[in-house]
């Protein structure tokens, strides 16, 4: 298909991911944060396509953007009033936190770059039809986790309803 150098696309995507990700943690208005999160998650889906995981990309958009982000936005709308004064979101330790996190990132990068020996595989290509393969995996090898996850989802559903519903007096 489109023969554009994957490198450029990666740099653009990662730039957007990092900027929007930083917006998520730094903006004052929670609603804007949620929208930045949507953008970030959407670009991560683009990254998945670069990594040959189309199904995961679609699932990412469908679940994160379609459900989780909407839930978050919904929650923001329910809990903060319109024309509200901007909610304070950072605390006094922000600077310390920033310092620690930068340190963490630098350390992680150094570890990845210099301290780990990666075993690059022999370029045996990924399965061509990754949906089919994922389906087969889920129905054979990963059957048990799959079922456990479904139980977890039901539990979460019921739990959420039980938590949020109003008691009828």
């Amino acid at each position: 298909m489109l023969e554009v150098d994957g490198g450029i696309v990666f740099w653009i995507l990662s730039f957007v991911i990092l900027v929007s990700g930083f917006m998520v943690v730094s903006l004052k208005n929670v609603f804007h944060c949620a929208l930045a999160l949507v953008l970030c998650l959407f670009t991560v889906a683009g990254l998945y396509i670069l990594l040959d995981a189309e199904f995961l990309a679609a699932a990412q958009v469908l679940i994160y953007v379609g459900s989780v982000a909407i839930l978050l936005i919904f929650e923001v709308m329910l809990t903060s009033k319109l024309a509200d004064k901007r909610i304070t979101q950072s605390n006094d330790q922000a600077l310390v936190g920033f310092f620690i996190c930068t340190l963490f990132a630098v350390a992680a990068y150094l570890l990845i770059k210099f301290n780990t020996i990666w075993y690059p595989l022999a370029k045996s290509a990924l399965p061509s039809d990754n949906i089919l393969t994922i389906g087969k995996y889920l129905m054979t090898e990963f059957m048990l986790p799959f079922e456990v996850v479904s139980i977890l989802l039901v539990a979460a559903l019921i739990g959420a309803i039980a938590l949020a519903r109003t008691e009828k007096s």
């Binding site: 298909m1 489109l2 023969e3 554009v4 150098d5 208005n29 609603f31 804007h32 929208l35 949507v38 189309e54 199904f55 990309a57 679609a58 699932a59 958009v61 469908l62 953007v65 379609g66 459900s67 982000a69 909407i70 839930l71 936005i73 919904f74 709308m77 329910l78 319109l82 024309a83 039809d129 990754n130 949906i131």
Partner: protein, 354 residues
């Protein structure tokens, strides 16, 4: 370079254009960029025209159901009335509320508009007339159309208006709950085709009207009914148009929008209606298959048939209340579609389907 969008009928035109491009001596990667830009512009243009036509058509259908004329002034039976409307909306003053959330207010219609058009990457308008035949086809459409909800939420929040906020929240609740039966209805078809690709789904229905999945599948009509109900809700049309609901929320999420921004919401709504109809045609009515006429004509004809059905819904039924809407989805549609999937899976497993 193979044109991804080239049906048998339109191939000569495309190959001529390609030769023309090649003769300019562009390098190959840039040629691809030009080609895809051109394609995007083409799809965008065709769809905008389709949406404008749909607006006109809806007004005509509504008028004739109500024994009126509808637009009659511009051209034969007012055929370019909607184009004039679009021009008028372009020229209108863009009224902005002083207390709006500036960024969100500005981007909401853009997101809505883009999301509406994104789906058309994988919709085959005819044999080979498709921009990209993704292997996640239908899943991709389901995924990108969720951006419409985000845009409605953005519009509701950005307007800083209680009616708009209520509309946005209603739309979020509605779309999240109707996505489940919609995907579940689609799964019945996907189960039999064994592929998510749109082209594969259509190819599986080749030959004869009895190969269309609405007739061929066990419980095909039920799957179609549940799909069309959920799709009506997804496209925010009456009887499920509670996010707008003129009589309750004035105009819901787009109450504060005017001019071009309003036009974007308005057009996106009709593009969405066309999208869900097109998916219905692809899944249940054999896509582009048909005799004699060119394939894209068949596709468009069938899609307009489904759109007509949506319009009849709109002009016949009252609107549901918001809690009844949820109840209807969770207590009726979801069980029915799930039961449908189980039955269909059983049929598939036993090899009974015909």
């Amino acid at each position: 370079m193979i044109w991804p969008i080239a049906s048998a009928e339109l191939l000569p035109l495309f190959s001529y254009l390609y030769e023309l491009l090649e003769s300019t001596g562009l390098p190959q990667p840039w040629l691809a960029v030009v080609v895809y830009t051109f394609l995007a512009a083409l799809v965008f243009g065709v769809l905008s025209l389709l949406a404008l036509f749909l607006v006109w058509w809806e007004r005509k259908i509504a008028a004739h159901i109500q024994q009126r004329f509808g637009p009659m002034r511009h051209g034969w039976h007012g055929w370019y009335q909607t184009i004039m409307d679009a021009v008028k909306l372009l020229q209108k003053e863009d009224i902005r509320v002083a207390t709006r959330d500036k960024t969100v207010f500005f981007w909401a219609p853009v997101v809505c508009f883009v999301a509406a058009f994104l789906a058309y990457v994988t919709i085959p308008f005819g044999e080979g007339l498709i921009v990209a035949d993704l292997n996640i086809g239908i899943l991709y459409i389901m995924a990108v159309t969720t951006f419409t909800v985000i845009s409605l939420l953005m519009a509701g929040w950005g307007s800083n208006n209680k009616y708009a906020l209520l509309g946005g929240m209603r739309s979020a609740a509605q779309v999240v709950s109707y996505e489940v039966p919609m995907v579940a209805s689609i799964l019945v078809v996907v189960l039999f085709v064994g592929s998510l690709s749109m082209v594969d789904i259509v190819q599986a229905q080749a030959g004869g009207i009895w190969n269309w999945y609405i007739f061929r599948l066990p419980y095909g009509p039920i799957a179609f009914c549940t799909y069309i109900i959920a799709a009506t809700a997804e496209a925010n049309r009456t009887p499920f148009d509670i996010p707008e609901a003129e009589q309750e929320l004035v105009a819901g999420f787009n109450v504060e929008y005017s001019g071009m921004k309003f036009a974007m919401f308005f057009l996106a709504e009709f593009v969405n209606a066309f999208t869900v109809s097109a998916i219905a045609v692809i899944l249940f009515f054999g896509g582009w298959h048909g005799a004699l006429l060119p394939s894209w004509m068949w596709f468009l004809g069938k899609t307009f048939g489904i759109v007509l059905l949506l319009m009849l819904f709109r002009w016949t039924y009252p609107r549901l209340r918001v809690d009844q809407l949820m109840e209807f989805s969770w207590k009726f549609l979801v069980p029915v579609t799930f039961a449908n999937i189980i039955i269909a899976a059983w049929f598939k497993y036993a090899g009974w389907y015909w």
